[in-house]
């Protein structure tokens, strides 16, 4: 799990900004009051824990009481952030878009004249939003408090004295089924992680495969294409070999020859 920064940067101060390239194009519109070192932008946007966290940030930044959100303004700012995330190709969770829709609904409702008789069943979406923001804020605070409690490993350690016993008894430890299941899960998880670690390194490099193919055909003879496809390497190996051949053909250093549709395919170095 990626660790994310816990704190947003200090409030923006800088007025003049240099253009920032996002996905190759200059970013023209910044969310208001957002000054972030360009390379930190992505990290910071990712630091939001979700739409509620982002909304709270926007509200707090402007010292607005949650209970009195200027919906139109906050919606505009929110959409700027969401747009920024989209342009940075951040994994934009659906929750952000749901929230955007909710904000838009609130905005539109506020433009409509209030009906004489309120529909008893219809919750005012603004009240719903306020309550959710409040609730989230409470637990965000609780999480901070939890984090700041003195805790083992960081702030205190168990005081332990070794047992001095010349004749220690053989004691059978007790286990319950939960321990066993938890141990199995832990073992599976570590196996799973190791598997990923093993797969991450590039086992088959196209470049490496290209040079191996060129070495093989250096003598000038025709080589059966099948030689480069080793079933033991699995699909990835086959694909890499195939791509390597295509690359070499495109570079004009390899010729592919097939005499008739059912005949074996041969390759040959182009330089005599």
């Amino acid at each position: 799990m990626a660790e994310q920064p816990d704190q947003l940067p200090a409030e923006p101060k800088q007025s003049q900004r240099s253009p920032v390239l996002v996905a190759g194009e200059a970013l023209q519109s910044w969310p208001e009051d957002l000054y972030i070192p360009p390379d930190a932008l992505e990290v910071i946007l990712k630091a939001f824990q979700g739409p509620l966290d982002l909304l709270l940030y926007l509200i707090r930044k402007q010292n607005i009481d949650i209970l009195d959100i200027p919906v139109a303004e906050i919606t505009r700012q929110y959409m700027e952030y969401v747009e920024l995330m989209r342009r940075l190709h951040l994994d934009l969770a659906a929750e952000y878009l749901v929230m955007a829709a909710m904000l838009a609904e609130i905005k539109s409702r506020m433009l409509l004249p209030r009906p004489e008789i309120e529909d008893e069943d219809a919750e005012d979406p603004r009240a719903v939003l306020v309550r959710r923001l409040q609730e989230y804020e409470r637990f965000r605070g609780a999480a901070e408090q939890l984090d700041s409690r003195p805790r083992l490993e960081r702030d205190l350690y168990i005081a332990y004295a070794r047992i001095d016993d010349p004749d220690p008894p053989k004691i059978e430890s007790r286990v319950d089924l939960n321990d066993l299941v938890a141990a199995m899960k832990a073992a599976m998880l570590s196996a799973h992680r190791r598997q990923h670690l093993q797969l991450v390194p590039e086992t088959f490099s196209v470049r490496d495969r290209m040079s191996r193919i060129m070495n093989r055909v250096r003598s000038g003879e025709y080589v059966d294409l099948k030689e480069f496809f080793d079933p033991d390497e699995g699909r990835m190996g086959l694909v890499v070999s195939f791509i390597a051949v295509l690359e070499l053909v495109r570079d004009g250093v390899l010729i592919v020859i097939q005499n008739d549709p059912s005949a074996p395919i041969h390759v040959k170095s182009k330089e005599r």
């Binding site: 799990m1 209970l67 929750e95 603004r126 989230y136 003195p150 490993e153 332990y160 938890a182």
Partner: protein
């Protein structure tokens, strides 16, 4: 086991040699039936021990329905220098999830998602379960029978809590109804929070695993001893 000093010394030796907090019941069970001190007597001995260690490098505290000796928070930075491993640090997402479980238990993943506004990552739930801080406590009797989660004794031990009730109260929710009236907002009925739903009594049992690996851990910025919160709650006595 005759005199009080011997009883006290035995209790002291037991508390120091056990890694987990010992309850009064555990301590009594250590004596031969005829010699076992009464609970009152043990309480007095624990009080005396706590005061013997007052102002020293370690202290006797009440944690998770038991008692343990632990180092004083003010010496943490020196003790960290003895260790190669930096203390783990936990992500906001994990801490928020844990806080919701701790305050609202038993809760389903859906309850947590409702509060946080985002999906609960499987990695986080798994990390909490594996760390032994959270356990499954049963299922909510609704369609789909979602799993209910709560915190464990290990959670209390790790976060230095005598009980779950010792968690600081949640920040006050400002009076929504009042301001809603000002804003001319129609408020729906307050939603039932999951903590109010009575769950069948769930018996405590050991669920934790002693994990030295920590999937969500990262290096920590240690808190300075002088900026940390109150040393330890619930001093005995």
């Amino acid at each position: 086991m005759k005199n009080k000093t011997e009883i006290s010394n035995t209790v002291e030796a037991a508390l120091f040699s056990a890694e987990e907090p010992l309850s009064i019941k555990d301590l009594r069970g250590m004596f031969k039936p005829d010699d076992a001190p009464a609970a009152d007597e043990l309480n007095a001995i624990l009080d005396q021990l706590a005061s013997d260690y007052h102002g020293r490098g370690i202290e006797l505290v009440s944690i998770a329905n038991g008692y343990r000796f632990q180092t004083q928070v003010k010496y943490a930075s020196a003790l960290r220098r003895l260790r190669e491993l930096r203390p783990p640090r936990y992500s906001r997402a994990l801490l928020e999830t844990l806080a919701i479980i701790a305050y609202r238990q038993p809760v389903t993943r859906g309850d947590i998602e409702e509060v946080r506004g985002v999906a609960v990552s499987t990695d986080i739930m798994r990390a909490l379960l594996e760390r032994g801080w959270v356990r499954q406590m049963g299922e909510r009797e609704v369609p789909g029978r979602p799993a209910l989660y709560g915190t464990t004794t290990d959670f209390l031990e790790y976060f230095n809590l005598a009980s779950i009730q010792q968690l600081p109260e949640l920040a006050d929710q400002r009076d929504l109804a009042e301001i809603a009236k000002d804003l001319n907002i129609l408020l729906p009925e307050p939603r039932q929070t999951s903590s109010e739903e009575a769950e069948p009594a769930v018996r405590d049992f050991e669920e934790s695993i002693d994990s030295d690996e920590n999937p969500v851990a990262d290096v920590d910025r240690p808190i300075d001893s002088d900026t940390s919160t109150q040393p330890v709650a619930d001093r005995i006595g």
